[in-house]
């Protein structure tokens, strides 16, 4: 098992390296010179070639690409992402303020999605073709089809404008987090509740379920005692995938609710063509994706002895 984990770890590092190199190449290939952009911002449109060359030299923009990549990555690993072209401040200080915001958003949304998907999936399986099952099907279809910015807008209309229960925008206390959390959780919750339901159904047709019935347990008992632990692996894998997809949700939700998180920073960087800021956020995202996948893999290996054998070879 130790060997498997080490191998996965190495693989994760390689993936981060490859994806970050691709990100770097992408931004390096961007039309328009970063030095020219900085010069333009410092001196207006009249920046001359001499000034551009000077700034380019200072930033080491004329060095070969691999050297620039190495410098950028080692800097980023040490927490130095460079200076934002938009704000003129170090990106690391932006991140220090914004990462907790996005983390809180993702954590709250993730917990909500987790609880609701399992609860709804079980309720659907218990009802087994009944009203609750139909409701679940409709919920998962509509929840997976409604754009999250529309969900946010509807929630604001109902709970802020009509009922006045929660503030519309910004962060002021616990209640202001509720709408963003629900918004970001709806899509993964709809997909995951379906996964729970379908996999429970599948588990119920396996021999151990039949054994459970033979022992005299009721359907619900077999569902909870025998089937539920067996859906852990497909559920966790999909949960990991959905959790990484929540990054997109966070970008939209932070924009709608005017939360100052990483996603909002990303959008601002894109609008203002702040290449250095974009690059840093992309690196952050890549690390996040790889980390989530790695953690899910680890949990699966720990949770399911079969995975240990299958991957340990």
């Amino acid at each position: 098992m130790k060997r498997t984990i080490l191998r996965r770890m190495l693989l994760a590092c390689l993936l981060i390296l490859a994806a970050s190199a691709l990100t770097f190449a992408l931004v390096a290939a961007a039309p328009g010179n970063v030095a020219a952009l900085i010069a333009e911002r410092a001196a207006g449109p009249g920046a001359d070639a001499h000034m551009i060359a000077k700034i380019g030299n200072e930033l080491g923009l004329y060095d070969p690409l691999p050297i620039r990549y190495g410098r950028w990555l080692s800097g980023a690993l040490a927490g130095d992402f460079g200076i934002s072209l938009r704000t003129g401040k170090p990106i690391s200080s932006e991140f220090a303020a914004r990462i907790p915001m996005t983390a809180a958003l993702l954590a709250g949304g993730g917990i909500l999605a987790f609880i609701f998907s399992i609860a709804l999936g079980i309720a659907g399986a218990v009802s087994n073709g009944g009203v609750m099952d139909r409701f679940l099907h409709a919920f998962s279809l509509i929840g997976a089809s409604t754009p999250n910015f529309f969900v946010a807008a509807l929630l604001v209309i109902v709970f802020s404008v009509m009922l006045g229960w929660v503030p519309t925008f910004g962060t002021s206390g616990f209640t202001s987090w509720l709408l963003p959390w629900v918004t970001i959780a709806l899509f993964p919750a709809s997909v995951l509740s379906r996964v729970v339901r379908v996999n429970l159904q599948e588990a119920m047709s396996r021999p151990f379920a039949t054994t459970g019935f033979a022992k005299g347990f009721t359907r619900t008992q077999v569902l909870l005692r025998e089937a539920l632990p067996n859906i852990a692996i497909p559920f966790l894998t999909t949960f990991g995938a959905q959790f990484t997809l929540m990054i997109i949700g966070s970008i939209v939700v932070e924009t709608v609710f005017a939360l100052r998180g990483v996603g909002a920073f990303f959008i601002e960087a894109i609008r203002f063509r702040d290449f250095i800021g974009m690059q840093s956020v992309l690196l952050l995202f890549v690390v996040f994706f790889v980390m989530v996948n790695f953690i899910v893999d680890m949990i699966c290996i720990v949770a399911d002895p079969r995975m240990r054998r299958a991957r340990g070879a």
Binding site: A19, P147, F150, L154, V256
Partner: protein
């Protein structure tokens, strides 16, 4: 690979196809349906309610909301079709080439495809827009470059599988050239799978276009686009929630239609890529059959 399932027209999920056809028709005939120019401003009639003159009222610039929603269908449809066709062309070409040529070329192409698939498509599209700048065509380009990899992976899988079939060898023995074998024998299989998948995937694309426009990185005003209409209406959310709800509803309806179509395809057992959701659906179908059999055999009341 079973393509008869697609050719067998009576097995097609006609009913779930209807909303999608409706969307396409509205998009095509939008200019004839729209009672007003969707961008025409009328300051004597701003923020009007629903009436016979303006079925869904007017927005803060006096533009007819009904015309804008119908016009938005056309914008979404056109952008979606362009991206889908371009992404299909690129994906099928690269994927098929990788699968057919094999060897080191395949390894390199597959690595590129896998890295492209490691990040969510929309994040890739956002990054590309950051580099290309905002605007309609850079949105189209960015989405195309973010979407092709999935089709490439699928195409490659089909080509690799088909190459093992004896009839390919037979064709080769009969003296058929590479291009002939590919176009005549392999491409139909590739297209059968990829086009079906793409038609169900179109909803995700409509959603992506709306999301980018909502974020101010896609279709720019005054062109009527649902995501952009929605973000426009957000400033009036307290007084006139209709401006937010209507474009949102239109968008949701279209995405639901395409998702229903995708579900129907999955249940039809049309060959689809075996990944994530499809695998689960197939497992579900298998489980249901099995459960029915069990119910008959054991007398338990399940499914």
């Amino acid at each position: 690979m079973n393509i008869s399932a697609i050719r067998d027209i009576k097995d097609w999920p006609w009913l779930v196809l209807l909303p999608v056809i409706g969307f396409v028709l509205i998009g095509i005939f939008a200019p004839a349906i729209m009672p007003y120019d969707p961008s025409a401003q009328d300051y004597s009639a701003t923020l009007e309610g629903m009436s016979w003159n303006h079925w869904l009222g007017t927005d803060y610039l006096g533009r007819d909301v009904f015309s804008r929603i119908v016009g938005g269908a056309r914008i979404s449809l056109v952008a979606m079709v362009i991206v889908l066709v371009a992404a299909l062309a690129i994906g099928v070409t690269i994927g098929s080439f990788a699968g057919y040529v094999g060897g080191r070329v395949e390894l390199v192409l597959i690595s590129i495809i896998d890295i492209a698939l490691a990040l969510p498509s929309l994040v890739i599209a956002l990054a590309l827009i950051g580099i290309l700048g905002t605007g309609y065509w850079s949105m189209i380009t960015a989405l195309t470059l973010a979407w092709w990899a999935n089709y490439a992976r699928m195409s490659r899988a089909v080509v690799t599988a088909e190459l093992q079939q004896p009839y390919i060898e037979a064709a080769r023995v009969m003296g058929a050239g590479h291009l002939w074998i590919f176009v005549r024998h392999i491409l139909p299989h590739v297209l059968a799978l990829v086009v079906v998948y793409a038609s169900a995937d179109a909803g995700a694309l409509v959603l992506a276009i709306a999301t980018l426009s909502f974020l101010g990185l896609g279709v720019a005003p005054p062109t009527p686009e649902w995501g952009q209409m929605l973000v426009d209406g957000m400033s009036y959310i307290e007084e006139v929630p209709r401006l937010v709800v209507l474009p949102g509803l239109a968008l949701t309806l279209v995405v639901v239609s395409f998702n229903l179509l995708g579900e129907a395809f999955a249940l039809q057992k049309v060959p689809r890529p075996v990944r994530g959701a499809t695998l689960r659906r197939r497992r579900k179908a298998r489980a249901r059959e099995e459960a029915e059999r069990n119910a008959v055999e054991t007398g338990t009341t399940s499914a």
